[in-house]
């Protein structure tokens, strides 16, 4: 059941008399619960349930009245409430009497409120939401040990011994747990899969206060006895075991070792690491040798592993300041045992939260700007409609004033009506948001809960909205109400109102600004993703492998990759396939694939680490790397030790004066010594891999791995037949070694789409809001012109009677409606150009400001607005002068 109906009931319960409040809540939750089971088999269950929950609103009123009936005492503020309830009833009747007006106001406001609620729930999820599954997050502290490296970068690293020092030396903490993220190779029921996981101390779940969904979490003794235990994530439990409690006690192979599943973490728990969502398994520190490797690539225990980027999480029993002071006092003790570049470590203590709200404030303000603009347009619209309507209702007001109503009473009536509209719009906005969030849930990696904070925000927005759009008409009414002399006149009101003019101009400016800015954003995103491709991105499959978790030796690794390559190449439909090391088709510089290179005439001390990669047979063809000069590797050259290399154009021009062929270099593994390096000859120069910028990094390729390389990336180019796909690849790998998982297999197109999702999402969001804004503005203009036409019916009738043609009337009305639009469009264009210039100065790769697209947006706006004005104007032209004149 969606939480919205229950939340609504809980909020409404605040108005239920205290004595019967708990019973009231329980009755409604019981009924809603039952209704949910009944509605499940009908159409639109969520809508039905929400409609049922809305019945709690009149019920609250009834309960209050019934309580008064029983006690027979008027409420202390009974008189004020009496007035308000009368206003409310009158307002309801008035709104029901003009449903067109009510619907258009509610529709535009609810879109504005929904945009804000949705935007805020993103912010809520990214900044304010506590980590799921964690108890009492306020007490948690993050402890980090970091050193400043030679390059001025802060590096988090510490040893297990230092962890013990910290744990023992901070009495302000109840306990301190350690966490280290690793990737595991999982194997279960004949299926190999890569698992994101973490090594944790035995007290980790205890410190975070995690309650398991099934089984148990780690106990300190799991670590002490070296129990081969694993805790799995709720998602993995559902995926592999269909949430069967019998999963506890079964065995799961992790990095070749059989571990007993002792428990399941609660839903969505992924620790308190920012930005980590997919942890599947937690393994105790005592089994660290499954994942950790020493310098010789042999398994090592966590104690012997040396410096690792551990994260420490503690639960404090004193203030944060006291804990920080204790941490500072341990800094000296830790540095005493450190030598060399590891010295100068700092122990820092911080709160555990997703994002520091203070630091995130500018981003939040920036992010909320656009939806707030849309809401502003909606408010302007609603104010416009209310104004137009109040001109029509001025006779009512005057009669009431004449009968002795106070000015304040009339203003209050207008405000109550706006509040009523805002509340209904907020309800509709909430429903719209929860629906929209469900739609995007699969696009977004983090959970987007509609929690109390989001509800509170919506309520605050609705109140602000009611004031924003209700105040101007209320003031307008009160200023006009001061003069009761117009009582004898029939419907009055100025046909040309300066306020109305300004409002139309403002919303035209706002919607044009949004539209143009959105268009600019979309262009920028396209400019960033569109690159020249030498092979079709939808036909290049990239997948990576890592044999390190399985602790495979060098010969076995070479053999595995040779057999996978052979198997892949023989699958029908494969054009070319090849292996490389490192992520070549990303813009990230992967220094793990680096080699130390000595250029010609460089001495032993002058070699530098440069990007370098192994290029197996077929790699250049598969990855679309064109040969520019010389030749590619022959099979004979693939024997070790290597003697020939190929460089890319950027390498040739940067280091070899564009004269690379037959030059002699010396290469070794990363950070290797001159003596251990090999002399090699450059035999070819190649271009860049597909999807790369032409000005990419200098790069060197060697024909066979120069060192043990357990992790490699496979590139497969296949034809249009589509006979090669993930299943075919998995079959090949399973035949070679079933324990090895295929990691993140995806075509180049899929990869690009997933990395560009966020930006594209934002850009299309802004553009969609622009369209919404335009629709709102057009709707607003339409209704305003309709009202103006209604006001001027008499005048139009006279004009027609005196010989004016229908065309002239239409022209008159459209012209008058478009004058403020044109002024607004001009202002909006100016604003959008200014925004685009600012964005361009701050954002790398932003599209240049294009006057043509701005002009097109302005023309589009004017056209839409003209159509919006034309419809009511044609109505005006259809007025029968005889009928109108007889109405007098």
């Amino acid at each position: 059941m969606s939480p919205l109906p229950l939340a609504l009931v809980r909020i409404l319960a605040l108005w239920v008399p205290r004595a019967s409040r708990d019973g009231w809540i329980e009755e409604w939750s019981g009924e809603l619960h039952h209704a949910a089971t009944v509605f499940a088999s009908r159409r639109f269950p969520a809508v039905r349930l929400l409609r049922m929950a809305l019945g709690a609103v009149p019920d609250v009123i009834a309960v209050r009245r019934a309580a008064r009936f029983i006690h027979r005492v008027p409420g202390p503020r009974g008189r004020i409430f009496h007035g308000i309830s009368q206003d409310l009833r009158f307002g309801c009747r008035a709104l029901a009497g003009s449903p067109g007006f009510a619907v258009s106001v509610i529709a535009s406001l609810s879109i504005g409120i929904a945009a804000n609620t949705a935007a805020f729930s993103f912010i809520n999820a990214a900044v304010f939401r506590p980590f799921p599954g964690v108890t009492n997050q306020r007490e948690l502290v993050r402890v980090g040990v970091s050193t400043r490296t030679r390059f001025g970068i802060w590096e988090i690293s510490s040893t297990h011994e230092e962890y013990e020092t910290l744990r023992g030396g901070m009495p302000g903490l109840q306990d301190l747990a350690a966490h280290y993220r690793v990737e595991f190779a999982g194997f279960f029921r004949g299926e190999a899969s890569a698992l994101d996981g973490a090594l944790v101390t035995g007290n980790y779940f205890d410190v975070l206060g995690v309650r398991p969904a099934a089984g148990r979490v780690f106990l300190p003794r799991d670590e002490a006895d070296g129990h081969a235990a694993v805790v799995i994530s709720h998602a993995l439990w559902r995926r592999w075991f269909r949430a069967d409690p019998e999963a506890v006690g079964q065995f799961l192979t992790v990095n070749g070792a059989a571990l007993e599943i002792v428990g399941v973490a609660p839903p969505q728990f992924h620790g308190v690491q920012k930005g980590s969502y997919g942890i599947d398994v937690w393994v105790p520190f005592s089994l660290a040798h499954l994942a950790l490797r020493g310098p010789d690539r042999r398994p090592v225990s966590v104690v012997a592993a040396g410096y690792l980027p551990f994260t420490y999480i503690g639960r404090r029993r004193t203030t944060l300041e006291q804990v920080a002071a204790q941490a500072a006092s341990l800094t000296r003790q830790i540095n005493e045992h450190r030598t060399g570049e590891k010295q100068g470590a700092t122990v820092s203590v911080g709160r555990v939260w997703l994002n520091d709200p203070v630091k995130a404030a500018p981003a939040i303000v920036g992010f909320m700007m656009v939806p707030l603009l849309v809401l502003a347009i909606a408010c302007v619209n609603a104010a416009n409609l209310l104004l137009a309507r109040s001109s029509q209702r001025s006779r009512d007001w005057r009669v009431r004033l004449a009968l002795g109503a106070s000015k304040w009473r009339i203003v209050r009536q207008v405000l109550v009506e706006s509040a009523l509209l805002a509340i209904i719009a907020a309800g509709a906005g909430l429903a719209l948001t929860s629906w929209a969030l469900k739609l995007v849930a699969h696009l977004w990696p983090m959970p987007l809960p509609m929690d109390a904070r989001v509800l509170l925000f919506t309520v605050a927005t609705a109140v602000g909205t009611a004031i924003a759009f209700g105040l101007a008409p209320a003031l307008h009414v009160s200023s006009r109400a001061a003069d009761p002399s117009g009582l004898s006149r029939i419907v009055t009101g100025p046909a040309r109102s300066r306020v109305r003019f300004a409002l139309i101009a403002t919303q035209a400016a706002l919607s044009l600004g949004l539209l143009a800015t959105g268009a600019q954003f979309v262009k920028t995103v396209h400019a960033q993703t569109g690159r020249a491709d030498s092979v079709p991105p939808e036909r290049l499959l990239i997948a990576s492998f890592d044999l390190d978790p399985l602790n495979v030796r060098r010969e076995a690794a070479d053999d595995f990759y040779a057999r996978v390559l052979e198997g892949t190449s023989s699958v029908p439909g494969v054009v070319a396939a090849g292996f490389s090391i490192g992520g070549l088709i990303t813009d990230a510089m992967d220094m793990s694939a680096a080699a130390r290179i000595w250029l010609p005439q460089q001495g032993p001390g002058e070699g530098k680490n440069q990007l370098a990669a192994h290029a197996s047979r077929g790699f250049f063809a598969a990855a679309g790397v064109p040969l520019l000069q010389g030749r590619l590797f022959t099979d004979a050259e693939r024997a070790t030790p290597v003697s020939s290399v190929i460089v890319n154009q950027s390498f040739a021009s940067t280091f070899l004066e564009s004269n690379a062929l037959n030059r002699r270099l010396r290469i070794g593994t990363r950070n290797s010594e001159y003596g251990a390096a090999l002399d090699v000859t450059v035999i070819g120069v190649v271009g860049v891999a597909t999807g790369y910028r032409p000005d990419s990094y200098p790069m060197l390729y060697y024909p066979a791995p120069v060192a043990h390389a357990p992790a490699r990336t496979l590139y497969v180019l296949f034809d249009e037949s589509g006979r090669f796909n993930l299943t075919a690849l998995q079959a090949v790998v399973r035949q070679v070694d079933a324990r090895v998982p295929v990691r993140s297999p995806a075509t180049l197109r899929e990869r690009r789409e997933s990395t560009g999702t966020e930006r594209r999402f934002l850009a299309s969001g802004v553009a969609a809001l622009g369209i919404f804004a335009l629709l709102l503005a057009a709707g607003g203009l339409y209704s305003v012109v309709s009202y103006v036409v209604a006001l001027r019916r008499h005048e139009i009738g006279v004009r027609l009677a005196l010989g004016s043609t229908g065309y002239a009337v239409v022209g008159l009305i459209v012209r008058e409606a478009l004058a403020p639009t044109a002024i607004g469009a001009l202002a909006g264009t100016g604003g959008a150009v200014a925004t685009a210039l600012v964005v361009r100065s701050r954002m790398y790769g932003a599209a240049p400001v294009d006057p043509l697209s701005f002009a097109a947006a302005a023309a589009f706006l004017l056209l839409t607005m003209a159509v919006a004005a034309l419809i009511p104007a044609r109505h005006a032209a259809g007025v029968d002068p005889m009928v109108v004149l007889r109405e007098e």
Partner: protein
């Protein structure tokens, strides 16, 4: 009886009649009369305040076994039964009205 007994509305009669026919929960009354929740629950409050209807909670253990919140059930008081009888005499058409509504 007191002098100022508020007149029963059609809604009130619907509810009383539904209760007499054994529909004891707010939702069931809603379902069988086809009236919205915003009408049924306030009507129940009014009838309870007039002592034509009384309410109680269903046994706790049943709800707990099924893992859901308790539900409140309603039943006619003798006064309620009497009022319904009077009203049925007065509005002959009520039985027909009700039948039509509940079948739609």
């Amino acid at each position: 009886m007191a002098t100022a007994v508020p007149a029963l509305s059609y809604t009130g009669l619907f509810v009383l009649q539904a209760l007499e026919r054994g529909h004891r929960f707010g939702f069931d009354i809603m379902d069988v009369t086809g009236l919205p929740s915003g009408t049924i629950y306030p009507a129940l409050r009014r009838l309870e305040a007039l002592a034509l209807v009384r309410s109680d909670w269903e046994p706790n253990h049943r709800a707990r076994e099924e893992g859901r919140p308790r539900r409140r059930y309603y039943e006619l008081t003798p006064a309620g039964r009497r009022r319904l009888g009077e009203a049925e005499v007065r509005y002959r058409a009520l039985g027909r009205l009700f039948a039509r509504r509940s079948s739609s």
